[in-house]
């Protein structure tokens, strides 16, 4: 997180706000509720309290405008800049302006959710600048999130509490603020790993890292920022070059990506791979390009599905240790890269070469340089 340099914070905890006008995109009640809930997010974790005014000048004046709206920072039409707000100081300080050339929504995942945009802008109104944490609400770019389950991320909580301290009226347990996974964490345990058209995707909680070996870059993103339909904390993922699809598995559900687009007709059930009914969760999946076989890791066993013949292989399930001698712990993620099989267990990555001979045991951020 970061805060505005200089002493840009409110010297009082009881603040006022006024909604000066409305957008035609939503009902008055929806705008009122979005604004109220957006302010409440910050009140929940600080001593700040917000009272609504209906006339006169409030600390936080909220308005919708288009193009040049007389504050010296013109908007730019649809998309691009969605809104802006001013840090705490006299006059325009604290005010939040929303670009009414945008399409704001109350609940639907398309367009821009007013609650999310407003919550971000009020972070500025209270003294926060943009955060570099891709999971933070104060990250500069708009990322759609499930507003029903949204919990202010820890980076934002830490930022606002560095200015105002915690909520003194804390009553009872609150949902744990989500922490953005750190690839430098030596105890990082990955949920799933897969190839995607030459890139390597590492999934953890609500995030994934996208590693482009040929470009030498690693980006971290919220899963929902790319695929709102796909949940966090997935169990497994693998790429089928035969179908040119990436399959993402959580519980008994299977989603599919075609490139970076969601494939139509999903989610499907895990039974599409003919796994026995008793298998309701897989720990990892490895696609073997040499044999077109899909290995499903379920606890300490492996099921093998022949993709060409679309049937489970006879003689399975087999113990993991029989197929991958030396692989003792529970496998949490797996992928094949340049002919080698990589199995993740805890914070280690086991590299298997020809005939599944164990070659090396590496740290699991071997492909995710810190």
């Amino acid at each position: 997180y970061s805060t505005f340099q200089g002493d840009y914070k409110w010297k009082k905890h009881d603040l006022t706000y006024r909604i000066e006008n409305y957008t035609p995109d939503m009902s008055v009640a929806e705008v009122d509720d979005s604004i109220k809930r957006a302010l409440q997010l910050w009140a929940d974790v600080t001593p700040l309290r917000f009272t609504r005014l209906y006339r006169g000048t409030a600390d936080i004046m909220i308005s919708f405008g288009v193009g040049d709206h007389q504050d010296g920072y013109p908007f730019d039409g649809p998309n691009g800049l969605l809104a802006h707000a001013f840090p705490p100081f006299e006059g325009i300080g604290g005010d939040a302006h929303f670009d009414d050339d945008e399409k704001f929504f109350y609940r639907s995942p398309q367009g821009y959710n007013l609650f999310l945009v407003a919550a971000h802008e009020f972070g500025h109104s209270l003294g926060l600048e943009h955060s570099r944490d891709p999971g933070a609400l104060m990250y500069p770019t708009y990322i759609h999130r499930d507003v029903d389950t949204f919990v202010l991320p820890k980076d934002d909580v830490d930022g606002i509490q560095s200015l105002y301290g915690p909520n003194p009226d804390e009553t009872g347990p609150r949902p744990t603020p989500p922490v953005t996974p750190n690839k430098c964490d030596p105890k990082l345990v990955l949920d799933a790993v897969t190839m995607l058209r030459g890139e390597i995707m590492f999934f953890k909680d609500s995030f994934f890292w996208r590693s482009s070996p040929h470009r030498g870059t690693v980006e971290q993103h919220l899963i929902t920022g790319f695929w709102p339909e796909i949940p966090g904390h997935i169990d497994a993922a693998f790429e089928s070059p035969l179908e040119d699809k990436v399959f993402i598995i959580k519980g008994e559900k299977v989603w599919a990506l075609y490139g970076y687009e969601m494939a139509q007709g999903y989610p499907k059930s895990l039974s599409m791979f003919r796994l026995p009914r008793k298998v309701q969760k897989v720990d990892a999946v490895l696609y073997d390009e040499t044999s077109y076989k899909i290995l499903f890791f379920v606890n300490k066993q492996i099921y093998s599905y022949n993709e060409e013949q679309r049937r489970l292989e006879k003689g399975y399930p087999k113990p993991v240790e029989v197929v991958f001698p030396g692989m003792k712990g529970k496998v949490t993620a797996a992928f094949q890269y340049q002919g080698f099989n990589y199995l993740f267990s805890g914070s280690k990555m086991f590299e298997f070469g020809a005939y599944n001979k164990l070659r090396r045991v590496l740290n699991n951020n071997y492909f995710l340089p810190c």
Partner: protein, 79 residues
Amino acid sequence: SPIAPPADEDRESIAVNYLTQLYGLPNQSNSDTEKRSSGMSLRLKEMQQFFRLKVTGKLDEETLDVMKKPRCGVPDVAA
């Protein structure tokens, strides 16, 4: 993508607008070419650093992709 990629001058104007509004790139009209491109490169590096992109000072596809994302209008640095 079925939409033709932006022509070079589009790319350039997207970048100049973005860096002017959000990274304090000084107004370009009166400065000489040399000064202009070094100012641009410096701000590009700042932006690439902020978004954890490869810091090249050049307008590559990844950097342009980030510039086209919908976002807040408050500058990322020296706000």
